[in-house]
């Protein structure tokens, strides 16, 4: 059996399979389906300094091989998280990491500070790429300057592993990646959702209350893999790859393109045990192809 542990900054994950923020609740929703302790890590729902109601219903629409969502960062705020959720989830035998969102640099910083104090919170994922809130969110992730600014500010207050989650809605994702690497990010995760929309032709109304929302699922996989590959050649920090991963083959594809770890997102809704199946598949693949460690596979796409 090959070694599966991977390093993300100062943090060691027992294996490269983690779950994507906003698709895995706080882990609790999945305990009937798997032993959470088998996961490399769990990225919990996007958390903000203040509680948020999120956007109005309808918040989702199915699209070819994917879905649009405009949940809009509904969450009870970081204080509620620290008081009520953290005490429960810190008992899980895997790394729990909070996805931090905000509308201003100050919001991000305040949120990160509170999380830095939590003993069993080894890392945060800075969400500068949420397409579903009016101000902030994605705006930070679409320019190098603002991406750098928020990373710098959070880096100053958060000494543990800092992962910055990048937006795919940009001309050059590798420029943004380089900008946040330069500010001390330990890792980048990508991709967040693509800005998309759908219209019901009979009522002539948008399918989402917010008109636009974030596209996820297998439909985005080819673009996400390409972005991981671009970023892999641009930065020296580890990449956590995601976007449409449903099977172990998909996961291997991201790893070959340059991802040190992966996140399973939307597909959790269809097969809540998918991450475990993916992990088993990766394990078999490594054995079958004679790799001693999953790290030996990272970025190892061959020339044609």
């Amino acid at each position: 059996m090959a070694r599966l542990d991977v390093k993300i900054g100062g943090l060691t994950l027992k294996n490269p399979v983690t779950t994507a923020s906003g698709t895995f609740g706080y882990g609790t929703e999945y305990i009937d389906f798997m032993d959470l302790g088998k996961l490399g890590g769990i990225f919990v729902k996007g958390t903000t300094i203040e509680p948020r109601q999120g956007n109005d219903y309808p918040r989702m629409a199915e699209t070819p091989s994917g879905m649009l969502n405009s949940v809009g960062l509904q969450n009870k705020g970081v204080d509620y998280f620290v008081e009520h959720l953290y005490p429960v989830i810190k008992e899980y035998d895997t790394h729990m990491m909070v996805n931090v969102s905000g509308s201003t640099v100050e919001d991000y910083v305040a949120c990160a500070e509170k999380l830095a104090d939590l003993e069993k919170m080894p890392a945060i994922e800075l969400n500068i790429s949420c397409p579903n809130v009016k101000e902030g969110g994605m705006a930070f992730g679409t320019s190098c300057r603002s991406a750098a600014e928020v990373t710098r500010a959070v880096r100053a207050v958060f000494p543990k592993t800092l992962i910055v989650k990048l937006s795919p809605n940009v001309t050059s994702v590798s420029d943004i990646a380089k900008a946040v690497e330069a500010e001390g990010a330990d890792s980048v995760s990508l991709v967040n959702t693509f800005l998309g929309m759908a219209i019901d032709v009979e009522s002539r109304r948008p399918m989402l209350s917010t008109v636009t929302g974030g596209l996820s699922g297998p439909c985005i996989k080819p673009i996400a893999v390409r972005m991981v590959w671009e970023v892999f050649r641009a930065v020296n920090i580890p990449i956590i790859g995601m976007g449409g991963i449903c099977t172990w083959q998909d996961a291997i594809e991201f790893i070959l393109a340059g991802a040190a770890a992966i996140q399973v997102g939307t597909y959790n809704f269809i097969d809540p045990a998918a991450p475990i199946k993916i992990l088993e598949g990766i394990n078999n693949y490594l054995d079958r192809h004679g790799f001693a460690s999953v790290n030996d596979l990272v970025g190892q796409m061959q020339q044609i």
Partner: protein
């Protein structure tokens, strides 16, 4: 909650649009306890149009045969594919999901109002109520006689009243115009069906001061509280209709505001 394969035991077309599908765990494990109002998430076929699962109410639980019944109306690609399944086919379900209708200890007179395929959860509910010796009246509405499904089954658990838009069965018109509603009010109303119908029922219940619960059919991605897509605006703010619903006391909804 479990995510397991079921075998289709029977698939019967009740009319041109609706199928009654009976499924049993493929490995024959005994069904767990389920509550009326709960639902299952059906994995269809992962095709582009039916990438996500489809929520379907538990129509009935036949513990003797270890079967769950699903009453499915074909409205799009997903439900069409579910209706096309044949005995012997496998179907993966996540179940049981959601809360349930509130069944009080104290004996009472219950009115169960259903429209279209919204009658689905009311059969299981009616059976549970009648087993607990409550008085049960069903009031079911549809466009035409052929749209009022499973009448013989409903009649086993209570008195059946109907309305049809074309008058081919029961009183002509909508359920909320049925003469039963003019008679002595019931103690509880449970309803499921098209939203305009449920809103009218909620309004009636409010006027008469009758506690009323409605089962919502909000769009869902996961069905078990992970995605936050299925929210309903309530007096407590946005709540997930898949975990804190699909059954809501209509007083907590903002429908009548």
């Amino acid at each position: 909650m479990q995510a397991i394969d079921f075998t289709i035991r029977a698939n019967e077309a009740l009319n041109d649009q609706n199928h009654l599908i009976k499924v049993a765990p493929a490995d024959n494990r005994p069904l767990p306890d389920m509550l009326p109002g709960q639902f299952v998430q059906v994995q269809v076929d992962n095709s582009p149009q039916v990438f996500l699962r489809r929520p379907i109410s538990i129509n009935f639980v036949d513990h003797e045969r270890n079967e769950i019944w699903l009453l499915v109306q074909q409205i799009g690609e997903g439900t069409r594919k579910i209706c096309e399944t044949a005995p012997g086919d496998l179907m993966n379900l996540i179940y049981p999901l959601g809360n349930s209708f509130t069944i009080p200890e104290k004996k009472g007179r219950f009115l169960l109002i259903g429209g279209g395929v919204g009658t689905a959860p009311l059969l299981f509910l009616g059976k549970e109520l009648s087993q607990k010796q409550h008085h049960v009246d069903f009031l079911l509405g549809g466009r035409s006689e052929k749209d009022i499904l499973q009448r013989d089954h409903f009649e086993q658990y209570g008195t059946l009243y109907c309305t049809t838009e074309d008058g081919t069965l029961g009183e002509k018109g909508f359920v909320t115009h049925h003469s039963l509603l003019q008679a002595t009010p019931h103690d509880f109303i449970f309803t499921c069906g098209p939203k305009p119908m449920m809103v009218a029922v909620a309004r009636y219940a409010k006027e008469k001061g009758i506690p009323c619960e409605a089962s919502l059919e909000n769009l869902m991605a996961c069905g078990f509280g992970a995605c936050l897509c299925c929210t309903e605006k309530t007096t407590r703010g946005n709540v997930c209709s898949c975990t804190e619903g699909p059954v809501f006391n209509t007083n907590t909804l903002t429908w009548l505001d």
